[in-house]
Symmetry: C2
Subunit: 175 residues, 2 copies
C-alpha cells in the first residue's frame, strides 16, 4: 500500500542547480510522499468497505455501474471498455471472472457476429443496488466530510493543475 519510493533523499547532489536538472527539495518530497500515501490509503479504505458491504471490488463496481447506466442493461464489450477506460484484455479477463460469479452474461451480437454483448444478470443488478448507497456514503464520509468547502475547491484546483501538466494526452479520462 505504502509507496516508499520517495524516501531516502539523504545523498542528493545539491550542487547541480541547473534548471532542468533541479531536484525536489526535502519538503517538496515530503508533500509528495504524503500525497501519494494518503491517496493510496483512501483508495484502499474505500475498496475494503465496498468489499465488506457488497462483496464487490471497485472494478466490479465500475463494470456494473456502466452496465446499469446503459439502455437495457446491455452493452457491447468494446463500448464498455472505452466507457470505463480499460484495455480490452483486462475487461475480457474481468468479465470472465464476473460471469463465473453470475454477475453478468455474455451474448452474441446481432449486428456484428464478432462482437459480444454484455448483459447485467438479476444477480448482478441486485449486487449493484445493494452496493451503491453504502459506497456513496463511504465516499462522503471518507472524502467529502473530511474536507471543508474551501479544501474541496482546492482539490479541484490542484487536480486540474496536475492534469494540465501530466495529462499530455489526457483523453476522455481513464478508470
Amino acid at each position: 500500500m505504502i509507496d516508499a519510493s520517495i524516501r531516502g533523499v539523504s545523498a542528493l547532489p545539491t550542487a547541480t542547480r541547473t534548471r532542468s536538472r533541479r531536484l525536489p527539495t526535502k519538503q517538496q518530497l515530503d508533500t509528495w510522499r504524503a500525497f501519494i500515501e494518503t491517496t493510496e490509503e483512501l483508495r484502499s479504505a474505500l475498496a475494503a468497505r465496498l468489499q465488506a458491504e457488497s462483496g464487490l471490488s471497485p472494478s466490479d463496481y465500475a463494470v456494473l455501474l456502466a452496465l446499469h447506466d446503459a439502455a437495457d442493461h446491455c452493452v457491447r464489450s468494446s463500448v464498455l471498455a472505452t466507457t470505463i477506460g480499460w484495455q480490452r484484455s483486462r475487461l475480457s479477463h474481468h468479465l470472465g471472472r464476473m460471469e463465473r460469479r453470475g454477475l453478468i452474461d455474455r451474448q452474441e451480437c446481432s449486428t456484428d457476429s464478432r462482437g459480444a454483448e454484455i448483459v447485467l444478470t438479476p444477480t448482478g443488478h441486485a449486487a449493484f443496488r445493494r452496493a451503491t448507497v453504502p459506497h456513496l456514503r463511504a465516499i462522503r464520509e471518507l472524502f467529502v466530510d473530511a474536507l471543508s468547502p474551501d479544501q474541496l475547491e482546492a482539490v479541484q484546483d490542484v487536480t486540474a493543475a496536475l492534469r494540465a501538466r501530466s495529462g499530455v494526452c489526457s483523453a476522455a479520462g481513464r478508470h
Copy 2:
C-alpha cells in the same frame, strides 16, 4: 486515538445521525472522481517513466531504496517489511522475483537462524543509482512543477485532513 474508536453511532446526536444518511451531491462526486482519477494517472505516469528509464517498478525501487539506506546495504527481512509498510508475504514473493533478477541476495541471519538477511547486489546497487535521479526529476516535473507554492501548501493541508479522518478507520486494521 482510543476515544475515536469508541465514538459509536449510538452515542451521536440526532442531527448527526440524519446527516450520516446523506449522499454526496453531483458536484462533490465530480470532485471525488477527478481526484481519484488524477492521482491514478499521476501514479501510473511515474511508474511508466521509472520503468522506461531504469527497468524498475515502484516496488522494486522501494525495496532497493530501503536496502540502500541501510548500513552495509543489508537488512533483516522483517525490518524491511515494516520499513516499507508491506505484508511479509508480499515482500517474500517480491524478494524472490528480485533475487531471480539478480538485484538482491538472501543470506542466513547470524543471530536468529529463522531469519533472513537481504543484501543489495552490485547489480541492484547499480540499478538503484541509475534510477534515483531520473525518478526524483520525474516527481518534480509531474508534481512539484505542476503546482504553485500555494497549491503545494493546499495539498499538505488536504492530505492532513484526509488522514485525520480515514485514520480513524485504518488505525485499527493496519499492519
